[in-house]
């Protein structure tokens, strides 16, 4: 008999549903960080992320039997449940996502004296800006960015979680990235234009 740590999520879930506490603990430890991060990246609030994580696993222990292994993995199932709780929280509690669109320009204005803000995205400040930009996206685009880019799931897994076609995920991600670029580089076009003028001036010089 193999140790429980080697069991798959589905096997652990089955044992958990039969009342095995160790299996629940193992499954929780294995899967809760990604669920927590997903909720945090979607909401921007640690409190919401804690609540959603709690609710997701509470749902699992009560209604775990609704999981169908033919329809996807336990991980996708948990993400789907978490997504529903996050969206319910947005609508029910009238949760306002911090950093509205209008506030996005401010941090970029502060770094506007740098030659190209996107060059420094790896810096801590820019990471914060990216996070804010993600949070300012509409829900349908935000969840795709969070799942595909931040959780690094495949298009197929994301489509499974969202219950839509892979093509829809691709198009939403394309659109979301366009929005992120627009938010992160509001004055990009002007910069490109100015650099082009300089280049042409050099050519004629």
């Amino acid at each position: 008999m193999k140790p429980k740590t080697d069991l798959t999520d589905a096997e652990l879930l089955r044992l958990m549903m039969s009342g095995d506490e160790e299996s629940f603990t193992l499954l929780y430890k294995r899967r809760h960080p990604s669920i927590y991060r997903f909720a945090l990246q979607m909401s921007g609030s640690q409190q919401v992320a804690e609540d959603v994580t709690h609710d997701v696993f509470l749902f699992l222990m009560k209604d775990g039997h609704v999981f169908d292994p033919n329809r996807g993995s336990v991980s996708s199932f948990l993400f789907g449940v978490a997504r529903n709780y996050v969206l319910r929280r947005f609508r029910g509690d009238q949760l306002t996502v911090p950093f509205a669109d209008g506030e996005d320009d401010e941090p970029f204005d502060q770094v506007g004296n740098e030659p190209d803000p996107l060059e420094d995205l790896t810096k801590a400040e820019m990471i914060d800006n990216v996070r804010r930009a993600v949070l300012s996206l509409p829900e349908r685009y935000r969840e795709v960015v969070v799942l595909c880019e931040l959780q690094e799931l495949s298009y197929g897994e994301t489509a499974e979680i969202l219950g839509c076609a892979i093509g829809t995920v691709r198009s939403r991600l394309h659109r979301a990235r366009g929005l992120l670029l627009a938010k992160l580089r509001p004055n990009k076009e002007e910069e490109v234009l100015s650099s082009a003028v300089v280049e042409s001036a050099r050519c004629f010089a």
Binding site: M17, S18, G19, E21, F24, T25, Y28, H32, P33, Y36, R37, L40, Q41, A49, E50, T53, H54, F57, L58, M61, K62, H65, L118, E119, L121, T122, M126, I127, V130, R131, V134, V145, E149, L150, Q151, E152, L173, H174, R177, L180, L181, L184, R185, K188, V192
Partner: protein, 261 residues
């Protein structure tokens, strides 16, 4: 490749998604020519790096210990209050029990049904060769045929097949059912005797025959010397035509419903 096509691929290029070699080389060629698309790809790559940095930075985050403790407490409480195992473990047994009961019921029904039918030996003895039980009144010009059962005349001699007792039983059941139908039908009708159509050689009917129900003008009855109600002369009347195995009609009888008399 144009700029629009490149733009649709820029995100996938920046994310390192797999794509066809031709498309990739086209994209690279276009990027070398078009500075704006090159910049666009550069931006996309920077965005990918930024998003990756966010993911890495948040990778260590997880829920607090309090959440886990709260969930464990709920799990213990839940497993005591609602024991899921016993209810679910009995489900297969219930299904098995129901299936067994259904099997027994079907078995009993089959036994009763089988015992109520004729034994297979008796059915096998039943002659398959058709018979034309007719009485031919000779000595007159006309020959009156009285088939005891009109339907039996139509049976053709068929080669005996090795049928299973059950198949024979089912076949016989259907035949009996058909016989009953005709008998009921016949009891509602009044028919004349069969009247020959031309010269009737009884030997021709030894190989069997067939009776076909037709409708003929009522005036046809007059040609056989039967009285015709002139008020209904334009109506049609039912008639049974006795056909030989060669398909030639040999005799006819006129049929009328009792109700219409």
């Amino acid at each position: 490749m144009n700029c629009q096509k490149f733009e649709s691929l820029a995100a996938d290029l920046a994310r390192g998604e797999m794509m066809e070699v031709d498309v990739l080389s086209d994209a690279r060629a276009h990027m070398a020519e078009c500075s704006s698309c090159s910049l666009r790809l550069h931006d996309e790559e920077m965005l990918t790096r930024g998003l990756h940095s966010v993911a890495v930075e948040m990778n260590s985050l997880q829920a607090s210990e309090a959440t886990e403790q709260s969930l464990l407490a709920s799990f213990r409480q839940h497993s005591i209050v609602v024991p899921l195992t016993p209810t679910r473990s009995y489900r297969p047994y219930w299904l098995t029990a129901v299936a067994a009961i259904l099997l027994i019921v079907f078995g009993l029904v089959a036994v009763v049904w089988r015992s109520s039918n004729k034994p297979p030996n008796e059915i096998a003895v039943r002659p398959l060769t058709p018979q034309v039980p007719m009485e031919i009144k000779e000595g007159k010009n006309d020959v009156a045929l009285k088939p005891s059962n009109a339907v039996n005349v139509s049976t053709q001699p068929k080669p005996k097949r090795n049928l299973s007792p059950r198949a024979v039983q089912a076949k016989n059941f259907k035949a009996d059912k058909a016989d009953n139908t005709v008998a009921n039908h016949a009891s509602n009708e009044v028919a004349t005797d069969f009247m020959p159509l031309g010269y009737l050689n009884p030997a021709l009917l030894q190989d069997g025959g067939q009776i076909v129900r037709v409708e003929v003008p009522r005036t046809t009855m007059a040609s056989f010397g039967l009285p015709v109600n002139m008020d209904r002369y334009n109506e049609r009347v039912k008639a049974d035509v006795l056909l030989g195995v060669d398909g030639v009609p040999h005799a006819i009888r006129f049929v009328q419903d009792k109700r219409s008399q």
